[in-house]
Amino acid sequence: MQKHDELENKKGMSRRRFLSVMAGAGIVGAAATMSGCSPVSDPSGTGWLPNQYRNASDLPAQVKGRVPLDPDNISLIRNDEKCILCGQCLEACEKVQSIFGYYELPVHDEFICVHCGQCSLWCPTGAIKERSEIEKVQAAINNPDVTVVVHTAPATRVGFGEEFGQEAGAWAEGQQVDALRKLGFDYVLDTNWSADLTIMEEGSELVHRITSGGVLPQFTSCCPGWVKFVEYYYPDLIPNLSSAKSPTMMHGPTIKTYMAQKLMDQGVIDNPTQIYNVAIMPCVAKKFEIAREEFTDAAAYWQEQGKDWATLESMRDMDAVLSVRELADMVRGAGIKYEDLDPNAQYDPIEGIGSTAGLIFGNTGGVMEAAVRSAYYLITGQQPPEALYTLTPVRGLEGIKKATLNIPGVGDVTVAVASGLANARKLCEQVRAGKADFQFMEIMSCPGGCIAGGGQPRTTVPPQDWVRQARIDTIYNKDKVGVINAASDEQGKTMKLALSHMNPEITAIYDEFLGAPLSDLAHHLCHTEYYSRADALDPKN
């Protein structure tokens, strides 16, 4: 017992002290544990779903679910957080475009999509939108070693204003050009120019097919969604597709060859790899189109010229596509006020002058009309008669339109125009069945043409015909000016003329560079090939 006491006095610890230390620690611990938060109580679901889903699943519902969209889709992205499963995208994809539901299940190994972007126009919450390329374009602009060249599609100038609260179809060509300059784009060119070039090539091809007994009807190939649609569903009709590239894809390689040479001569750039090609488009399928593997013709051209500036992989014909919505985002992001933009700003030269024949590419039936005007000239060597300047039967929002014209030396030529791929499908079926009573067929994926393209402003959701019509009207009204100019034979200065083959910059590129339509070099830079995507799906009608 004594020992105990001694030891405890030295360095022992009493039980009481030990316990009080322990208890103290315990209380601290317990108190701190109370600081948590309570758990969720009812996990059985108390959320919201649209009313059509408050049923047993075996009841037929008209609208269910949404479109399948590859998370890696090059044109479109979807934000699931915003999706409310309203089913509008499916409505657009299935009923308007006849994509969803037109292939057998199971799928093969990819999501079937033609990148038209109609779903992004129909989506009420903006869950589906274009895959933004703003960042990489901005990076190119910020890079002092890079010359950023941009060209703007015909339909963009009747959409751009709408993004800034202007009435539907407001003409905003000047404002758009000025905005692009203010954003730092070095050269602002007009896709109307390359549309004219397309007319020369595609029109010549049509004439060639008609006169030499080629595959008819010829299909236009300006619309990348339509092209992919043919590759998916009608690979047997690929020979009907015009080999002429779309305007954008003609613009790209000519900028990086013909225009690049001029810029090199001027000392602006050392070699074409310093050019960064951007297109402002009413379209999101263009994002897919520029990424098609085969579009490296400028690089191939320079290699043939013995220049080792770029490999096919390192220099593509086009570098980026911005939809009108993205451009508007850039403008807003840069703090540029629409009111401050110059409505009279002009495009830069070399590849920047376009005819109003190029302009009407934006409307359904426009390519046809422009082509007919120049084809008439190409066949007869004479300017087209006045009737061809207002080809009323192919104008307007009707899904399928046809017209028959008499061209001296050829006879009656029947043309067919459709917009919306469900309408295109009907014409394709006729062609496939050998019942096509027409020689030339223009298809635009989006109803109404590019003016209502998947990259245009979401002025009404879903898109309404009155908006489409307003845009169409603005474009045709501008074309009237060109028609008057053409009729008065006033070429050159104002450039607002309605004939592609009269475009001075078109005649210049043929004289200086390409030689003639369908020449070897023209084939090289302005024509392409298509391939079957039949392996990707089993079509179902």
């Binding site: 360095k11 022992g12 009493s14 611990g29 701190a32």
Partner: protein
């Protein structure tokens, strides 16, 4: 007994252990605030980690209390009685450790009482939980019996009337949870490696925890003897190893028969990491100890010690192999405990060791040690050994 003073020697090692424990408490507060995700490496693929592994082992090793109780209290083999109370104590402390770890481990510690009011009676876990709680109550009664022996002899006399019943029940209850621990993994027939996934698992778990009990008891005995410079009764220990070895042989036969019946015998000679770990497990748990008892070496203190260490390591490996090795192929990926998981396990282990030391130094746990006529003198003499104490 008024002159009796409670006593707790403070050494450096003990201070370090106390500090580790207090830090553990502090970190536990943090863990309760941030949740398991931030404090551990447990994840959806590995919902069970170090803590569960530790619990499985501690419960198995705490089986010492029950196996020694059966040997002495049920079979009345008196020569092993010196071991009974000591094993009762370490077993009880072991179960306390299990609960302490579980308090850190379970996600909803505040709901610990739910199984009592909302019993999931089909769950092996329920059986484990209920048996452990029941067993701890029984052990607490047995400890009160020990504790009141000196301080309240009259009360203790009354207790003696019910103690036989308590002893027997306390030998029945652990059968339930030791076996149920093995049946926990019967719920993963498609996940657990075929080497272990057997319906015999509960019985093997029960048997192994039983025969490793003496090994745990022997180690504790040897350690205490060294601390207090007491004589060791090698004959007694030797006897325990022989009992243990007999059961090991039974276990080995069952295990091999089980592998043969399930067509898994070939698997153990694949010499993959999994099969190697199994071979190591079975060698440490049964083959090595059995061989030792057959050799003259088994009659020495060293032999007894190696026997025990091998068996304990083997048992630990058995459980680790089921919890981790056997599940790894299915769970995939990697799990390695965070510092907190390790630290808290160590910290809680520390407080249990401290509790053990405190109790052994204040209660007549060591009565009946060889060389002591009664517990009183033993207790009085114990503190003299403290200066040389290894802890």
């Amino acid at each position: 007994m008024a002159s009796k003073r409670w006593n707790f020697r403070i050494t450096k090692t003990r201070i370090v252990m106390l500090v580790i424990f207090l830090l553990t408490l502090l970190f536990m507060v943090w863990r309760y605030c941030v949740g398991l995700g931030a404090s551990t490496n447990l994840n959806d693929a590995y919902p069970w980690g170090l803590w569960i592994g530790a619990d499985m082992n501690v419960i198995a090793l705490a089986g010492a209390g029950f196996s020694m109780a059966i040997i002495t209290h049920v079979f009345h083999i008196h020569k092993y009685e010196p071991m009974a109370r000591r094993c009762l104590l370490i077993s009880f402390i072991g179960y306390v450790l299990v609960l302490l770890i579980l308090i850190v481990e379970i996600g909803r510690w505040d709901n610990f009482w739910r199984p009592f009011v909302s019993p999931g009676i089909h769950s092996p876990m329920f059986e484990v939980y209920m048996c452990i709680v029941a067993y701890m109550i029984l052990q607490a009664i047995e400890l009160v019996d020990v504790g009141t022996e000196k301080v309240a002899p009259n009360f203790n006399k009354k207790m003696q009337k019910i103690m036989p019943v308590i002893f027997v029940i306390a030998c029945v209850v652990p059968l339930g949870h030791q076996a149920s621990l093995g049946s926990l993994y019967l719920a993963m027939p498609a996940k657990l490696d075929g080497i272990w996934a057997s319906t015999a698992m509960p019985w093997l778990f029960l048997l192994s925890s039983f025969f490793v009990g003496p090994a745990v008891a022997i180690l504790e005995y040897l350690w205490s003897s060294k601390r207090y410079h007491m004589k060791t009764d090698i004959d007694m220990l030797r006897g325990l190893t022989r009992i243990s070895a007999c059961l090991m042989a039974v276990y080995l036969v069952i295990k091999i028969a089980d592998l043969v019946v399930r067509g898994q015998l070939g698997r153990i000679f694949e010499f993959s990491a999994v099969s190697n770990l199994f071979l190591l497990e079975i060698c440490l748990l049964t083959i090595v100890p059995i061989i030792i008892t057959l050799l003259p070496f088994g009659k020495t203190k060293g032999g007894v010690m190696v026997f025990s260490i091998s068996a304990v390591c083997g048992l630990i490996l058995t459980r680790v192999n089921v919890v981790f090795t056997g599940m790894h192929a299915h769970l995939g990926g990697g799990y390695f405990p965070t510092w907190f998981e390790i630290f808290s396990t160590v910290g809680l282990f520390c407080i249990c060791i401290l509790a053990y030391l405190y109790i052994t130094e204040n209660f007549p746990i060591f009565y009946g040690l060889p060389g002591d006529a009664d517990g009183e003198t033993e207790l009085e003499s114990a503190p003299s050994g403290f200066n040389q104490a290894i802890m």
